[in-house]
Symmetry: C2
Subunit: 468 residues, 2 copies
């Protein structure tokens, strides 16, 4: 151990190796404060070559490596175990934007680049990097790629996986794979990069990536739409996509109870509709063409939707400030939940067409098993992804309820599986759902994953105890 520390220090410098447990503490705990690890050291290499040197030393000594970016993950994927034998490999110093090419619509960035900085670099070049999520001010692109992050722009631009053209990866033996291709088309063998995306650092360490950029939408329009039910919201989604195609960039479902929580805990909240309704959709359209055309398209589509009985009411933002106020309704839900008290949280997906039935069936099942529970149902309806969260009955004993979390989650996850869904739509498995997934994935698929793992990381040193 002492020898490895010495070697790490000669590889990356004394300042880049943290061994004091007090200094290491921020890196040893996950964002939700559910996992508390004890690393041998936190190592902060400053270049891909230094990452490779660190990995070679760990490979030689059989030391487990836990890659970590902004440490904002929700499943403990970047937290070391408590054994004191693993190192945290912190990538934040690899934070350069290496190149930007507005004609090829690509940006080449290092893993430690904070997502918001990457977005800003794209804007400065007159382009859009569409990945957008709550943690964007501190999460890092290497982590976004390793967890295949989702967020609010998936409906139009896809998950993180869909934004990658090339990767640079330090492999578990310390070799550097330069797959930094900036090509839209390359059919010369297996698509290795997609193996590393979403692997949560279990197959290697992403150190840099070539990512897609897009034209910047010049027009945006936002509306809060009231509906009778999730089923109507589905019909409304199809209606909007038929009418406006890819202009539909945001389609977020929020139940009345979600907005009630927001209003309760953010007293300045004002809903721009006169009455209360059972369900709401936060709708955003964007386009490169004129704002007038976009507004006209939205108004026309809303009028037709009302005629067809799909929607009950709608308020279109008349200014950027009004649009921001509408988005705040959606964005304040997680914080309102925290202020309300403890809840059991989920991140499920089902086929979009099954969303309404999923909500109805699962809700009924939960009410039978846990009478009075309050459903905090919201999420990316356009992606089939719900944050299907469960609050205890009003005035119930919160701790007693939370003690039954695994029973509640079992109902939620089993139901998703029956609809052909996923128990982790955008958050990954990490250590949090590593056991849970064994219930839902076939032994054959687990075996295929293990064979891939063994082929690339035969020593098993890459992020041990995560994913599989």
């Amino acid at each position: 151990m002492a020898q490895l520390i010495e070697q790490l220090i000669s590889a990356v410098g004394k300042a880049a190796v943290i061994t004091d447990p007090r200094d290491a503490a921020p890196y040893a705990t996950d964002w939700r404060k559910r996992y508390f690890g004890k690393p041998l050291a936190v190592v902060k290499p400053g270049s891909t070559a230094e990452v490779a040197a660190v990995v070679r030393l760990c490979a030689a000594s059989g030391t487990g490596i836990v890659p970590q970016g902004g440490n904002t993950g929700l499943c403990g994927g970047a937290t070391p175990d408590a054994g004191g034998g693993q190192i945290v490999l912190k990538l934040s110093r690899l934070n350069r934007i290496r190149a930007i090419d507005p004609v090829n619509n690509t940006i080449t960035v290092e893993a430690g680049c904070v997502l918001a900085n990457l977005q800003q670099a794209a804007v400065a070049a007159g382009r859009l990097f569409p990945l957008s999520l709550a943690a964007e001010g501190s999460c890092e692109i290497g982590g976004n790629l390793s967890t295949n992050a989702g967020g609010t722009a998936v409906l139009r631009y896809g998950n993180a996986r869909d934004l990658v053209l090339g990767l640079e990866v330090v492999l578990p033996d310390g070799q550097i794979w330069n797959g930094l291709r900036a090509l839209r088309k390359d059919n010369t063998g297996y698509d290795l990069k997609q193996l590393f995306v979403g692997a949560e650092g279990t197959l290697g360490i992403i150190t840099a990536a070539v990512l897609k950029l897009y034209p910047r939408p010049s027009a945006r329009t936002t509306a809060l739409v009231a509906l009778a039910s999730p089923a109507k919201a589905l019909d409304f989604l199809s209606h909007m996509q038929d009418a406006c195609g890819d202009r539909v960039t945001g389609f977020e479902l929020m139940s009345a109870f979600c907005l009630l929580l927001v209003a309760r805990h953010f007293p300045a909240t004002r809903l721009p509709l006169k009455e209360d309704y059972p369900q709401y959709v936060l709708l955003e359209l964007s386009d490169t063409a004129s704002a007038e055309n976009l507004d006209a398209a939205l108004q026309g589509a809303l009028a037709k939707a009302a005629e067809r009985g799909l929607i009950l009411d709608a308020a279109v933002a008349a200014s950027g400030a009004q649009a921001a106020a509408l988005w705040a309704l959606r964005e304040n839900i997680p914080e309102a939940q925290v202020l309300e008290g403890q809840q059991i949280k989920h991140d499920i997906s089902v086929p979009i067409s099954s969303i309404a039935e999923y909500i109805a069936v699962t809700g009924a099942e939960l009410q039978r098993a846990f009478p009075g529970v309050r459903m905090v149902t919201f999420g990316h309806l356009g992606d089939g992804n719900l944050h299907y969260n469960i609050a205890p009955p009003e005035h119930a004993d919160e701790n007693a309820f939370m003690a039954r979390a695994s029973e509640v989650s079992r109902v939620v996850h089993d139901s998703a599986a029956r609809f052909g869904g996923s128990i982790s739509a955008e958050h990954g498995l990490g250590q949090y759902k590593r056991e849970e997934i064994l219930r839902y994935k076939s032994p054959l698929e687990m075996d295929l994953m293990r064979r891939i793992k063994a082929a690339l990381d035969p020593q098993g040193i890459m992020n041990p105890g995560k994913v599989l």
Copy 2:
């Protein structure tokens, strides 16, 4: 051998096992008639279970399996070797559309479904399946996925890879992996499906897929645009994307010489422009919104492009017939090449921003080495993908020129590599480029591919001698 044939017959029926060499001949040769194999048998299973049974028999006897769909591939990837010991596994009988879900925007199809039939099923459901290529009347979706087909809609909708949500695969040991998920988001481990897409049947046999559908564009507009140079075409591409975003669905570059060949061999050809120009772009916009708005957007963008000096002239199709006539200019190029005589063909890609320089540098290098060669330069400029084909000098000895094909291709491919490009953008490797790729891919990347291959197909029975 005789025993295996007996076993195959009991697994799939006598009518589904072809052993007579005359009957097997159509399956033993590739579409370009460059490879002539000699299979032990051609086996035509009628279901996934039968595919699995065939694979188990082959695995037990160590028999090589060559999966084949519509047999329209351009790199000999579906042609058996001449040793008489491999079976061709023909998937055409697995041709059902299993399900279509217009709300989820997905279609579930079997591998043998002809691409055009799949497109039509989508249309019947009011949706678009965007994959489109010259062979669509006979190619099959399993082959499209196994080769990660490109085509004319990649700019807007991506390659075949980008259209896949789930797969069903018969693995090299005959187990069936049911990965037929219809989810937009699923972060529960490695993205196994992307390994099989583009693997050209070397890792397993795709038997069914869940594919993405899109809203059907209701408006389309097509223009032939004249430009001074490929560099101007690049500027014009950026200009159009800034102005019209994803409405830009087709952007095909054609040199003056390409259109000269078309005019020479299709005498009815009429160019709708008054003068001759050095370069042309076939431009297509499409949208779900009104045709009037789309036409106005095109006219406005063309006027600005002319003002900015990006383009020299343009003709917008005023009817569907005119649009078809413009597309015929592009689509008749391959046939015009055949009528002109033999040519050395390529399928390269480079970063889009490097296309103009690639054309200039590579053309100059070829003229130095092979004076008088005629460049038939056309392709999917918006994807950075050129069919950079070379015709012999006028009146030269064609066979003497073709005998130097590998020298010519070396120049073309080395140049693409220097620009960070690919020697096979959309056609795959098959057996045609299997040796060639070793010059351009790093030994480390080849090693990673071989490790994956060994992990999934340790016996090496899946499409031996292809890709790697």
